[in-house]
């Protein structure tokens, strides 16, 4: 395995949690809801996936538990913002803090316990290819799932009637409501989907990326996923590109640390966060680009007129 191959093999697992969480959040934001709680949902998904896999010995059950836990913990956010018209920014922050708290509580007894690794699924024939095989076709199921979800979400949003309805709700909830679309129901489903994908992202962290539970192991990935959605101007395939860009930055820092170049390791660890800020500057300074792409009802509470 040469250097480039080794590098690429590590980029993909690093990009996967970012991609899963960001694609989920993209659907939520396309429906006009800003859920800032991704970090909390991801942490809860990670710990529940780890614990269930650890107890049952079955990583697949862990994956399922991660998705369910992510969706479950997003329900208070859904109830507050959709039924009670609570401020989405504040409620999302509450979800982030609550999720991290719950994850720390559940996981306390499992710190340092051996994890169960999600096995790699070598795709027949293709995984035997030189270079491409190990880089692209010898990963765990969540890596493939992240691509499938990106494609599905892109198809759903832009090629189906239900997707059009969801986008309409995100652009103008009053008009969508007047047309008879169930605004609140669509948004609740979007929120639960976003929660489930954030949970899967967490499951990838605690079952594949580093099969263990450490407090704060999400390390800001949920927030970076939120930034990715903005960076990708709310488009699924651009989210994928962004996730791989950030995955590369993340891994670059680790590889440079291992290579022992003269820079302090903390500076290299700070790279993903600094890169996120830079990416936001690059995309946000073009106001036309962000204004025309931001779902117009994003973050606004909806109370139906009767």
């Amino acid at each position: 395995m040469n250097g480039l191959e080794a590098f690429l093999v590590t980029v993909i697992p690093a990009a996967t949690p970012l991609l899963l969480a960001a694609v989920g959040e993209l659907v939520v934001e396309r429906a006009g809801v800003l859920n800032l709680g991704v970090e909390g949902m991801m942490a809860t998904g990670a710990v529940c996936a780890f614990v269930v896999a650890h107890i049952s010995g079955n990583p697949w059950l862990g994956v399922l538990a991660g998705a369910l836990a992510g969706a479950l913990i997003s329900t208070p956010f859904a109830a507050l913002t959709q039924k009670l018209a609570a401020n989405q920014v504040a409620t999302g922050l509450a979800l982030a803090l609550f999720g991290l708290g719950v994850a720390g509580l559940i996981g306390e007894a499992y710190v340092g316990q051996p994890g169960v690794r999600l096995p790699a699924l070598n795709i027949p024939v293709l995984s035997a290819l030189p270079f491409l095989g190990p880089v692209l076709f010898s990963h765990d199921v969540l890596v493939y799932a992240s691509f499938v979800f990106t494609a599905l979400v892109s198809w759903f949003l832009f090629r189906t009637r239900a997707g059009l309805m969801l986008r309409a709700v995100g652009v103008n909830h009053d008009a969508a409501h007047a047309l008879g679309h169930p605004v609140v129901r669509i948004r609740v489903f979007a929120i639960l989907f976003g929660g489930a994908l954030a949970g899967l992202a967490g499951a990838h962290l605690s079952l594949a990326y580093t099969p263990q539970w450490v407090e704060n192991m999400t390390a800001g990935r949920g927030w970076i996923a939120l930034a990715l959605v903005v960076f990708a101007t709310w488009r699924p395939w651009r989210v994928l590109a962004g996730a791989y860009l950030f995955g590369t930055v993340w891994i670059l820092g680790l590889h440079l640390q291992a290579a022992g170049i003269g820079l302090p390791s903390q500076l290299l660890s700070a790279l993903p966060y600094l890169a996120t800020v830079v990416a936001l500057v690059i995309i946000s300074r073009n106001r036309v680009l962000t204004l025309t792409n931001t779902p117009a009802s994003l973050g606004k509470p909806f109370v139906p007129e009767r």
């Binding site: 800032l36 018209a85 803090l97 720390g104 903390q266 660890s269 700070a270 946000s284």
Partner: protein, 354 residues
């Protein structure tokens, strides 16, 4: 089913009652959870919320923990009023602590009452400078301040980690990642026991912000830009101004909290100097209904949850991690109760489908 009906004006009665309802609901939920875990809920509640108030030692500890929460929470209340979402107070706290600690670490020989003043001023400046970054990016490049301010928390923490393991490590400290211990001249004087001068500064800050919001044109501008930005623009106020003021004030107070914590409580720099005060202060701001005085009371309650968590760990063998989950849950209830201020809840039969 229950429907919301917008009130013509926010209810004054509910504005006062909502936080109380939220605290009661969170407490009740906590008790039910304890019961489900097989603990005596009354004993757990007593240990968590009442026992820490029964000894002089823990009352002092309450004031010590409430000090940074009140300082940061009051500043965040002001920013959130203006619809400016500074959620990176934890990073501003760290940078304030670093800036202020430069004096005892780089100039340990400067033994003079003035040194302490300079430390506090540097703390304010360090927090404000770190908060100026998201403010600048927002005003100049329209960058979402929620994400930029939060990213900078990680950067600040890593910077502190580098300092205490590298250039600022105590050379006589057996390689522990800690700075030198501050000398008496660089430690905030105590008021009573562990309570240090920071508590007084927090009271002053709360009073100052209260005056600013109540009496000053600047405070009025912030409130208008938060609640009716268009009217504010016609009134000659600007978004950029509101953003700068909110970030600089809330950042400076977070920085002050940081240097007070290091100089008054810890006595040296170390990799971790806050159990997440900057994030808990977000809850403080909302529980205090975005008013500085409200934040003061809310800070006491959230300080109590830290103490209660420790007490419950000792007495009941419960994890101290209960605290953070409980704090998050409390914020959910605060936001849910806030609905009562702006809406009337009406029971209504499901409408027939047309």
């Amino acid at each position: 089913m229950i429907v919301l009906e917008k009130r013509a004006e926010p209810s004054r009665l509910w504005a006062f009652l909502a936080p109380v309802v939220a605290i009661a609901a969170a407490g009740l939920t906590g008790a039910v959870l304890f019961a489900l875990l097989g603990r005596d809920p009354l004993l757990a509640m007593w240990t968590y919320f009442i026992e820490p108030l029964t000894s002089a030692w823990s009352l002092e500890e309450l004031a010590v923990k409430a000090t940074p929460l009140a300082l940061i929470g009051a500043g965040l209340a002001l920013a959130y009023r203006a619809n400016v979402w500074n959620i990176g107070a934890e990073g501003q706290l760290v940078m304030g602590a670093i800036a202020g600690s430069a004096i005892p670490i780089l100039l340990p020989e400067w033994n003079d009452p003035l040194a302490l003043f300079v430390m506090l001023a540097l703390g304010l400046a360090g927090g404000a400078a770190w908060a100026a970054i998201p403010a600048f990016l927002k005003v100049r490049f329209n960058v979402n301040e929620i994400l930029s301010s939060l990213m900078l928390v990680y950067v600040a923490q890593l910077f502190l980690d580098w300092l205490v393991r590298g250039p600022w490590r105590d050379p006589m400290g057996f390689n522990f990642p800690k700075s030198v211990s501050f000398t008496d001249w660089h430690v905030l004087p105590a008021i009573s026991g562990r309570v240090h001068l920071g508590a007084l500064l927090a009271l002053l800050a709360v009073a100052g912000l209260w005056l600013l919001l109540r009496r000053a044109r600047m405070g009025f501008a912030l409130k208008v830009m938060g609640s009716a930005p268009r009217a504010g623009l016609f009134g000659g106020f600007s978004m950029a101004q509101a953003c700068w003021i909110s970030f600089l004030i809330s950042g400076a107070l977070a920085g002050l909290a940081g240097i007070c914590e290091v100089s008054g409580s810890i006595g040296q720099l170390q990799p971790s100097i806050s159990p997440g005060y900057g994030f808990t202060a977000i809850i403080v701001a909302f529980l205090g209904r975005l008013s500085p005085v409200g934040a003061l009371f809310a800070a006491l309650l959230l300080a109590l949850t830290y103490l209660g968590g420790e007490a419950a760990q000792l007495a009941l063998g419960l994890s101290a991690k209960v605290t953070q989950a409980f704090q998050g849950m409390l914020l959910f209830f605060v936001l849910a109760a806030d609905v009562l201020v702006h809406y009337r809840l009406r029971l209504q039969r499901r409408e027939a489908k047309s």
